[in-house]
Assembly symmetry: C4
Homo-oligomer: 253 residues x 4
Amino acid sequence: MIKTTILRTKKPRLKSPILVEGLPGVGHVGKLVAEHMVEELGAKKIMEIYSPHFPPQVIVQDDGTIRLVRNELYAYKSKGKQDLLILVGDHQSATNEGHYELCGAFLDIAEEFKVKRIYALGGYGVGQLVETETVLGAANNIKLVRELKEYGVEFRANEPGGGIVGASGLLLGLSELRGIDAVCLMGVTSGYLVDPKSAQAVLKVLCKLLDIDVDMQALSERASEMEKIVAKLREMEEGKTPVSSEEDLRYIG
Amino acid sequence: MIKTTILRTKKPRLKSPILVEGLPGVGHVGKLVAEHMVEELGAKKIMEIYSPHFPPQVIVQDDGTIRLVRNELYAYKSKGKQDLLILVGDHQSATNEGHYELCGAFLDIAEEFKVKRIYALGGYGVGQLVETETVLGAANNIKLVRELKEYGVEFRANEPGGGIVGASGLLLGLSELRGIDAVCLMGVTSGYLVDPKSAQAVLKVLCKLLDIDVDMQALSERASEMEKIVAKLREMEEGKTPVSSEEDLRYIG
Amino acid sequence: MIKTTILRTKKPRLKSPILVEGLPGVGHVGKLVAEHMVEELGAKKIMEIYSPHFPPQVIVQDDGTIRLVRNELYAYKSKGKQDLLILVGDHQSATNEGHYELCGAFLDIAEEFKVKRIYALGGYGVGQLVETETVLGAANNIKLVRELKEYGVEFRANEPGGGIVGASGLLLGLSELRGIDAVCLMGVTSGYLVDPKSAQAVLKVLCKLLDIDVDMQALSERASEMEKIVAKLREMEEGKTPVSSEEDLRYIG
Amino acid sequence: MIKTTILRTKKPRLKSPILVEGLPGVGHVGKLVAEHMVEELGAKKIMEIYSPHFPPQVIVQDDGTIRLVRNELYAYKSKGKQDLLILVGDHQSATNEGHYELCGAFLDIAEEFKVKRIYALGGYGVGQLVETETVLGAANNIKLVRELKEYGVEFRANEPGGGIVGASGLLLGLSELRGIDAVCLMGVTSGYLVDPKSAQAVLKVLCKLLDIDVDMQALSERASEMEKIVAKLREMEEGKTPVSSEEDLRYIG
């Protein structure tokens, strides 16, 4: 395999589909949201994307069988006005050039389905434990920025300061060149831990934007579990000097 | 040389061949088994595989001559129902993309010979000295898993936790996409030392699976030598605090 | 996107254009000069250059919109004898091979516009705070060296000792192979801080060479601000032992 | 520039040419020998080899002009039976794949000139100061090994242990696949310092092998200078404990 290879099922007919991307990243926020949606909505897998830009690795599953690392595209036929395409996966590209190639491939698919809007989901790591549920936004045109503000998405000048790196950022940037509306929703998170609470915050906003209902029970339970862990970490912290407290959490999640 | 290049002898006729892969890896378990089989069975070299994805390196041999690092394919015509192809080599690919390309090339060869099953051999490093002879398995379909269990191969849910990385893993993953049955046999090993004892354990299982006999004398002797070294290391250990004992062995093998 | 991609406006007619390159580098000297010229001269953007050799990153702008990292080419129609092309950007190539490819693409553009001379701008980091305004030069033929000396550009045998690495160096080297005159102007700078003062020194020489006037107010103000910061750093230094003084500034800029 | 590019003069007619390679490496032994030969023999440059696999760098020369890093091929018409091609350069490839590509290009040239033998020159770093003049050999067939032994070249089983890495090794390995005789002559050297004395030892053997005379004055002077430096280092050493002595020289050359 020397090229990115896509295995497809029969192409479904989708009405005005929206593409939601949730690949692994900071706090696994995007991945948690997108995988939760696939599960709760019962979306159907329509593509498997393999690439030499992913690590040369197979995942061993519960039953002893393996599968090659990949990205997957799911389709969800809604009762509302617009259907969904949901992109999830084991890895993002392992190389810079691979990011450009893979995001180009994702947008070829988006164009094939005449996707008019993309929601790229991710986390924004701020380096300390986060109390509030904040969703930061970025978009590839100003109309989208205005719309998102009405849904409670926050915009901060020049934030994230280092820009948005990886698949989510590149999807927005390359979409602009193809004239596709694209939005990045970033759950503010510590960056130290897998963060289902931040994922919940992103999912709430996304559900409003998409005008759909998604049961949040499973995500909520994972958030509760994680909050207990964080509470314990905080207790441990309080026994220490405040200066070193953040340092100690850095390598946990 | 800008592409992977294969030098071939006249193509042998093989009946229902099985491909055994034993490239260098954890504890050199796979390499030890495959090279031992080539030696003991008197298998004949039928291909040399050179690639810019290997390091730019030649090996200096005993007599002062050199040879370019490469992988090699050997053929063994058995008296039983199925012949063998055995893949050995100096290196695996030095890059991610190279792994995909080379494993693709190996599977092109497998298809050319109508190989129906692949045994990818390797070691599974557990980070401490191992007493028992355990062979862990993974396979690219559930029928194979069931069959292997009958031969004493162990399967543990989600183990190895990091998946299987490199040629062995990729051979399984890419085989699945081509509809070829493939199995990974991993000798449990410390990961610190070259491990002929673990190789013996793998070879025993493999011989049963292939229904062939392979003299184990040479491998057994190497295992004995290594056991003496390990025994000495253990003695050294006992003079120390148990906490640091493993640490001291880490950079030996 | 698997190739470098150039978006163009209608091609302007330019008389005997000179190409000025100011991509990010040591002290951001070249970037400061080139961006200042674009601003002050009101040059018009005629090309956007995107490439998989840039990082997979978008920049978040003040208004919450993003743009994909890129290089940009601006054109300035002067009242004098020669028009200008000015190359600026967010990044240089992230890989060695990418540098060769991108500089090749820049020179294709230069040839398309029949550019006869290139000024590549940069900084030369000397590892300590710099008092004087020195502009070091290098050129791809001896006639240019002689001409530049008359404009106060300094030449020092075998300096910079490590050669000139990256886009500026490569533009000179590859230009020579295409028979295009090219000059590198390097503002001597500490290398620790963004250096608008060094940028001013380079701009003064460049204006004389191009026989144009560029208002330096904005750059001068930034230089004053930076001088205040440097003065504070010096004060901090004086409270310390002279040996360690430079060390302490090393990771600030 | 996205490919290796070769600039050529008119092709000279050479009788039974021998290719001598001396690119930068351990102790710069090969480079010192090959550049010395070009100088003393008055060999003529017939090719410049540029490549995106070299670093993106220009070298600033004494007069302020630059030149792009490259490899160069020189031709020497001897009065004896065989002419010489001498390969020198600023860098070896910066990537693994580049080594394979460039050595392939060198061998294309060798075949074009019907070169029948290649001498690849290098240093063999042993990690401590070396008193004796030893030249270690390796060759791509056993006849060459026997011949070299008669000229005092040493062969040690499996040495260098790590094989020969880079252009010299790869030239031998790839030559074998093309049926070209190739020899590697390695001057034993500390590996810490540029080593003109080791270069002299290699040159002496090479002159005997080629049956030519090369004035060694210049190389001898450089060796004397370096010996003074080494003597000083030894004095410094003697004031210290013998255990740490080698360590202290490690980062000088």
